[in-house]
Symmetry: C3
Subunit: 241 residues, 3 copies
């Protein structure tokens, strides 16, 4: 049985992954769902990427987690890449779930289409506290297209403003993902349209892993809300040896 | 509960969508399946696109349909786009199901590969009444690849010759689909090979909708015959708010 | 009811297809699973493509098989193409299952990415008996990504070294696949990453068939091990009239 650490995406906290964690635990694994610094209820929205990664590094050391299947969703892909670079000996396998895969020197927005970069810049300027949010119509149609309206609204209600600096800071790595010797998997939800079609998650980002295991599953970017059981199953197929 | 209007594709009539309609009605909705002018039993095959669109506009007015989820299949995408442009206040959401999405000034054949344009021209010249038909081998292998032979033959038996002018006439719109403010969905059957792979339905045509909801479902172009239940479910996932 | 001949891929023998054959037989068909010359327990690893194809031609003549649904997996696509060219009157339908589709004058390695060509050349030089094998990490992550480790290891254990000449010899055909008048289907496992994404099985190779029937099914390149029932179902959907 394995130890899973599930690292959430932008606008989320670890709490939203609890329904997935419960199902992975039911299969006999240990599961942890920390919240990245910058997404906690009392966190400043001026947090940068180094602090965000550092918070999960600290969590793994303090909790003394070893031999970890480290899962990152979306923005969480930035974070798990940084954690794996810092604590390579504690990782059994990296699992990217519709997640960004950075090489050293890249920021998340380097992997975004221009319209999102523009939207975030405008929004951050308006909000003034360093954070960005997602407009509901984009969330409903392009992020959680596979859920009913009630699920989409409830999930939207628990999102938190996301610190823009974690998206614009460039990551610094000793080793790029393709050269990391740990096992690597990519989980691709096949109806994920959060990125426009010219900027697909797979294979555009997955191929940066070098040799990796592909797991595909029907669903939107937010399968954690629309079908936690299907997601849990996919993460275990991705996370096993 | 919603009001669905299902608009059939070329060579079809509304009758072929009855098995799908029954299943959507069973979920509590009202469903209408009009036949486009030019595909009715007694219709001339010289009908053009304006008359075709006009027949569904008239149907919606005479039947006094409002707040409609308007679904178009294949060629039906031309028709629902024209109807939405004419009666925007009566539409709640547009659902394109492996359907053409025209901008103003485009005809359906502008979105077809050259081999189909050629095939239709030759065929229309031979038939001489303004209509085109589909050869059975293309129908069986590329349109209804997911059905057994008996289903493929029975479905082929109810097809009607299609008025070519509805495919060659250019549509005239006040507003292109991307600028329409109504909700929009695209249902993509993942084994639809009716268009060759260089001319995919999604994302080539779906992206012309601007912000839209993607629903994908296993099946061929003719899922209405091969699995009406699966199609009905997908249309409802696409059609809800 | 039909007669199926299942032709295995590189590193395999007909024995590994027995669980699939049993399920097709249970649906009322006759199924044969010959082993291609070069993959048998006592075969020299210097066998070339002509001998490989000839061994299945001989098998079909000796066993007096007619009206055959001829299925080829991966490298088996080379073999069934050659068999169909030699014995066109005995074939009812060709089914390519994540298989190579050659035109006259092409070898299998002409359809491979450069990294594989390089890997095979290096490996053959080291082994010295004319054969190549697959490294386990590539097998586990890119060929059988949908199975658990135990299944991946057991399957790896029954693989046999493959004669390189069958991959480098160019095929000679009287008729290219697109011009063959027999029915043709392509079964595409949607999580097959044995070929890198720039070199997809479908549509890159499937389109060489001309008019063909597409059947897609979730699974890796080695669905025969990970889910024989799902594969058997897909092959029958592909193989029926």
């Amino acid at each position: 049985m394995s130890t899973y650490v599930l690292v959430h995406g932008a606008w989320h906290t670890g709490r939203e992954l609890a329904p997935v964690a419960v199902l992975i635990e039911a299969a006999g694994h240990k599961v942890f769902t920390p919240t990245i610094k910058g997404n906690g209820a009392k966190d400043a929205k001026t947090v940068g990427l180094t602090e965000a990664i550092g918070s999960i590094v600290d969590y793994m050391i303090v909790t003394d987690l070893r031999d970890v299947v480290l899962v990152g969703h979306s923005y969480g892909g930035m974070v798990i890449t940084g954690v794996a670079d810092t604590l390579p000996d504690r990782i059994r396998r990296l699992v990217y779930w519709n997640a960004f895969v950075p090489n050293s020197g890249e920021s998340l927005i380097d992997m975004l289409p221009p319209q999102f970069v523009q939207l975030f810049a405008t929004m951050a300027a308006e909000r003034g506290d360093g954070s960005v949010v997602l407009p509901f119509p984009i969330w409903r149609e392009a992020f959680i297209n596979d859920a009913d309206l009630d699920t989409a609204e409830r999930a939207y209600g628990v999102l938190n403003p996301h610190p823009l600096r974690t998206l614009t800071d460039k990551i610094s790595l000793k080793v790029n993902p393709a050269e990391m010797t740990v096992g690597k998997s990519y989980v691709n939800c096949t109806e994920d349209t959060s990125m426009p079609h010219q900027y697909p998650w797979h294979p555009r980002l997955s191929q940066k892993l070098g040799l990796f295991r592909l797991i595909q599953v029907p669903g939107s970017h937010e399968l954690c809300f629309s079908n936690p059981a299907r997601l849990a199953h996919a993460l275990m197929d991705a996370g096993r040896d």
